[in-house]
Amino acid sequence: MVRGFGWAAAFPDEVWEHVFSFLAADADRNAVALVCRAWHRIERRSRRRVFVGNCYAVAPAAAVRRFPEVRAAAIKGKPHFADFNLVPTDWGGGAEAWVEAMAEGWPHLEELRLKRMVVSDDCLELIARSFKNFGVLSLVSCDGFSTAGLAAIAANCRNLRELDLHENEVEDNCLNWISHFPESFTSLVSLNIACLEGDVNTSVLECLISRCPNLRTLRLNHAMPLEKLVSLLQRAPQLMDLGTSKFSADHHPELFFKLESTFAGFKHLKSLSGIWEAGPAYLPAIYSVCESLTSLNLCYATIQSPELFKLVSRCKNLQRLWVMDLIEDNGLIAVAASCKLLQELRVFPSDPYGVAPPISLTEHGLVAISAGCLMLHSVLYFCRQMTNAALLTIANNRPNLTCFRLCIIEPHTPDYISQEPLDAGFSAIVESCKDLRRLSLSGLLTDRVFKSIGASANRLEMLSVAFAGDSDAGLHYILSGCKNLRKLEIRDCPFGDKALLDNASKLETMRSLWMSSCSVTLGACRQLALKMPRLNVEVIDERRGRPLESWPDDFPVEKLYIYRTVAGPRSDTPPCVWTV
């Protein structure tokens, strides 16, 4: 490399800093840092945002040392499959190490976003005390803390703008945590407490809302009764994003009228969610805001089809729709006709474990959406039947798909008309959708589909596979292809040692690989770990008590998590996890 471009030295550092400030993407900033020492130095001192996709990929102290002026950090912990109970609860992902290092090295930190991490109340207290200008706390799918921890945040973070609690398991031991926001506190812009189970003191909340004129997002939990919700909402007509509480009550015309006029008062509402336990009586109160909504999340609303259909078809400007399969094919056909700006659709199962669903949601609904919604690029769809023909149609209709996650509820389900595997259908998806970044497979699939994916899915970054494939060849196709693959998660597939070892170096180009209930042996893990010192090869086994060293090479590995790291083996592994 050319040593220190002479012309680089002609400009003061501040000029380069200013130039670099136009680079938002981490990848670009990383590239800049490799050009010369001067740029490396300037870039690292001016980096303000850090994203750590795997909290164990780098030591907290190292990250803090390298980028001393960070103002916003986002960190992720557990593997994605932790969402589905596949990862032991004590696996790790604790936030303490990171919070302690940040408290020490980033006193000016303003934003912290943690996902799938174990966050204790002590952590929250440390956060509350350590960062004078703390403004944004976002906890997504975390656990380990209680409302007492939230009270500490409320009491101490004088400039808090955003408190976003999304789908966390929070223990409710401090009933009045909201009252810990001091009277002088007025900076709140966004409050999301939808995941809290306890009752929230409505009058305290009303006071809080009344004195925060910049409040734009308010997502409540389901515990608040409808009458109280109405009086609360009347204090915040400027809301842009609302998550309601329970949307049912005994029918009182007066309450309905109040609710209706409250909603009519929302001139800026773009996003609506919550609507727990919605009864048909109160839904029409929402109609006045439908036209302006760009995002509608009904995935917890067990509304039946006619009311659901009436509601959604009024939302002509919808860009994002999350809904239960109670919408049925007819409902989706109506959406396809009304919601021409739709970009993202997620359809969740109302009864994932039932066997004879009365729900008439099939491949037809998704095909209709793919035909009618030209801007559709992101799909999550739970259903019980699919055909290759439908997938082909979807692929041809929507080559602009970037995220396609299909979950056919019963494993190994073939094309229900031809009884063939769904290889052809998914192959069509990856061949047609050149910008596909995320893909989840399901149904009956052979190695053939992996051949197509390996060959065609050049932009694919995340792939989820379950109950698929015939042999190691399947895994080999993926690992030897898919140039941009970052995260691969596999369960219950007959993939084994050979594909893993033959593609060992690929693993260092990826963030992580999860394999559970596959055919990998301990011997292969040992070989892999030896060959690739910058991978942590974690074997997870909750059954045995004996230490890893005593097991033979042919011991079948139940769960395997491999990730690249510059921090070496971690020191906080629980008894059921061994770093090979």
Binding site: D83, G354, V355, P358
Partner: protein, 215 residues
């Protein structure tokens, strides 16, 4: 919660129609969704019917006594078995735990103790029967120990010997003694729990015939 999903309800004789016990269940409509608990949509949709069914079932209480042996499910979270042969696969379909919990969150009830300033919450569905629930309450309010009487259980504060009787408020707003009705019916109708000093509990609703109390 996670690994216990597999197979612990495999010995249950219920499920698709025709069984007397199924009739006292609050499930309606979805065949095969009998499992350990009514499915979420049934509970939501059938709310109005549920109250009516409750009354009906109460009068057929004797039937459930014979079947009370199958009420002791493990802490199953939604592991409804579609048929006797199929085991529930852990983590499939990939529905997030939070979502599964949220959709059945109506079984969380508040627990109040006379004289204590704090409330706790307990998920009724996480317990297979009255024994487990009482054990959980015992743990939650760790000052208490369970004392067994021939026909009911009480919690005792060992410090002063005060006895507490677990009571609950049902959907009709009546306060009843815990343990009177079949477990499933209790889970479905209980709105909140109160550990009442036994001296205050004397006037509670009369109890059902003894065959209905579960283990």
């Amino acid at each position: 919660m996670s690994t216990t999903e597999t197979g612990c309800s495999s010995t249950e004789p219920e499920v698709t129609g025709g069984l007397g016990y199924a009739e006292t269940e609050l499930t309606l409509g979805l065949p095969g969704a009998g499992g350990s608990r009514p499915s979420e949509t049934d509970r939501k949709r059938g709310f109005a019917e549920a109250v009516g069914l409750n009354l009906e079932a109460a009068s057929r209480g004797e039937h459930c006594g014979a079947r009370s042996s199958d009420s002791s499910d493990g802490p199953v979270s939604g592991a409804v078995k579609p048929s006797a042969a199929k085991a529930q696969v852990v983590g499939w379909p990939p529905v997030r735990s939070f979502r599964r919990n949220a959709l059945r969150s109506c079984t969380y009830v508040k627990v109040a103790v006379d004289g204590a300033p704090y409330l706790r919450k307990v998920d009724l569905e996480a317990h297979g029967g009255y024994e487990q629930l009482l054990a959980a309450l015992e743990e939650m309010f760790s000052c208490f120990t369970v004392r067994h009487y021939p026909d009911e259980r009480r919690l005792v504060d060992p410090v002063n010997g005060t006895e507490y009787v677990p009571t609950y408020e049902d959907k009709d707003g009546d306060w009843m003694l815990v343990g009177d009705v079949p477990w499933k019916m209790f889970v479905a109708s209980c709105k909140r729990l109160r550990l009442m000093k036994s001296s205050d509990a004397i006037n509670l609703a009369t109890r059902m015939p003894q065959e209905c109390s579960n283990k």
